[in-house]
Symmetry: C3
Subunit: 275 residues, 3 copies
């Protein structure tokens, strides 16, 4: 049921890494890169064509910033971390060492925080940042919002697939794996070594225990306090069957009521027949 990963690939993975080492980009600054004079860029790092490194940003040794990336003010990019072309990191966020961020990912956009006022919405400034640990991978088109007051935290070794949305002030525990199209609403806390299947959705402000496994396409609407394997998927069927069954689903309480009345009737009949 849409679960993330399988075992047994481990040795294959090590072997494949040995056989297909990725050539790092050449160190230095490519044509058209715009590096603010107030940025600190290690000489062994590689800045791709038309990348922008803003004021106060620090790019560590061996890091690779791809073509057209934007690294905001005061951002830190750790050693040997690779930003593929077109990654954007907002002011003040920190990325650890040996991370891989894929194209189109956005780190540190404003969290979705508004307060109602006379039928309109007032923006709550999002003053926290995003802190990403070491050895994290972030998929293409994935977005991780900055915190409202505190920070959004992605711990070491977390692997995140494409088009995942992580809201403000979430914390994702170390070595968890999050498959594509997952949405995690604000202030959710995901434990360590969890696996979230593709397109699962996690409500805001809830906590998921370490080592939990969530099936794909499952909405988690309250805390999970005990590790386990959880699912909530509407089974698909031929559309005609679905129409019949879905109509009944709205009236399960009536079915139960009819069962209750039957039980009462049958009890009465038994009593009578016993006399």
């Amino acid at each position: 049921v849409l679960i993330v990963c399988e075992a047994a690939y481990t040795w294959f993975a090590f072997a494949a890494q040995a056989l297909a080492p990725q050539a790092p980009l050449a160190p230095g600054r490519a044509a058209g890169a715009v590096v603010h004079p107030g940025a600190q860029v290690d000489a062994s790092s590689s800045i791709g064509p038309l990348a922008v490194i803003d004021e106060g940003a620090r790019i560590a040794a061996g890091a690779q910033v791809g073509a057209g990336c934007y690294v905001g003010r005061q951002v830190r990019v750790g050693e040997a971390t690779r930003l593929h072309p077109g990654v954007r990191i907002y002011e003040g966020c920190r990325i650890g060492a040996r991370c891989i961020l894929h194209s189109g990912s956005v780190i540190g956009a404003d969290g979705f925080g508004f307060a109602p006022f006379k039928g309109q919405w007032v923006k709550i400034p999002q003053t926290g940042a995003v802190l990403i640990g070491d050895d994290v991978e972030v998929g293409a088109g994935t977005t991780i919002d900055r915190g409202a007051m505190g920070d959004t935290v992605i711990e070491d070794g977390v692997k995140i697939d494409n088009q995942v949305q992580i809201g403000h002030n979430c914390r994702i525990g170390a070595h968890s794996a999050i498959a594509g199209c997952v949405g995690i609403a604000g202030s959710a806390t995901i434990g360590r070594r969890c696996q979230l299947g593709g397109a699962s959705m996690i409500q805001g402000h809830i906590t998921i225990a370490d080592d939990s496994i969530i099936s794909g396409a499952t909405a988690i609407t309250h805390d999970i306090r005990q590790a386990g394997f959880y699912t909530g998927i509407y089974p698909f069927m031929r559309n005609r069957e679905w129409e019949r069954n879905a109509a009944l689903l709205r009236h399960l309480d009536e079915l139960r009521e009819r069962i209750r009345r039957l039980e009462a009737s049958v009890r009465t009949l038994h009593t009578e027949s016993d006399r």
Copy 2:
């Protein structure tokens, strides 16, 4: 259940805005910006490094266009609107005043319109545009498609979170709030002051009444004519339980049939015992 916002933050929001004012970018054109000679860029606006402003585009007073943005032909960007780095706006779209568009958002890509012809698809040109009102916020990675004939319209004060998809010819009523990962199919009309929870999905061509609230992870498959709070989430459970229950869900009609037969039997028994 995955609802967007809570009250009580309002005064906090005002206070936080006063305490954490965002420094605007310096006016003028940064290094490497490419501004078409036929574009009209107000002198008080700020064009970031490596941004592209195409022919006939107008950038109003105090607007900020971030690094690497693309502002297409004839696009209008209103006063004091901020485009974060890497926003892309297709030809002819209009963005109002005081809007905030986050990185990776795409305004005005073609709607998904194709007609079948001999087992293949023929593209229907998408000749409308996207019109965005004042005080709208658009999240990172959000996409809003241009209309097929008429326009796609986002009214004033609408707040849209990350990775939301809005199809061609939709209309989103003023001051509605749309949480992350929501999909709204083409020609849907969302009322004013609605709240769509994260990952809810709205079918095309339907209408949702003003002031409706939709839970997260809920699919809206027909019109909502009356304001209210609507939900449709498959409850999650331990996978083993789910397997048992999901199998029964496909056969609700059989359960109902067995209840019917029981009711008939019990009526017969009652009649007999009355004799």
Copy 3:
């Protein structure tokens, strides 16, 4: 129920194409484009401002590469194909002729492949590519991952809407249409002429028969061997009703058990009354 397309638009589509022909960009290289000397760019193609064409890439006749695009090493872009601003194509991928790729789409990022090792994840190098046929359209923000060993293949004439995620080693059959927000997990095979409704989710490693139609918001968790129209959507209702019904949904097996016991009781009563 969230289905992609309707017929009857065909002649309209042809007429509209004739009436609203899209002006191609002027051929040549715009200001600030960075073209590697080892790239082969046809003289009739158009390279937009601040686009990057990397080593060994080939841009065919009449192709248009928009502002800020990144075309990786050894990538091939076919004749008359249009990349809107901000498309990114990783090393070694091939795009056919007459394709349209919208802004923010990412072709060829690493598939999500990790093997577990002592509580951590080891990356499996993704050494395949993405092969896209002719006449394919790819929506804004859509991501198509490169294969792990073999390639990810999108056959001719496939139309893909915005924010679709296609995992590594998938194969999408010719002339299939995929609506917005769909997620297709790795190694899934979608037949020819299929229609996947918006926000439907396809589990990895499964096969869907040619000419299948999947409703929006439906999770497909096992093979579909026979063409047909399939649905699995939890019907939405007022939240209070939903709470009542969802609670019962967790206990369908108990309802069935009560029905069984009633049936046994009624049989006993009938037997007794027959005596």
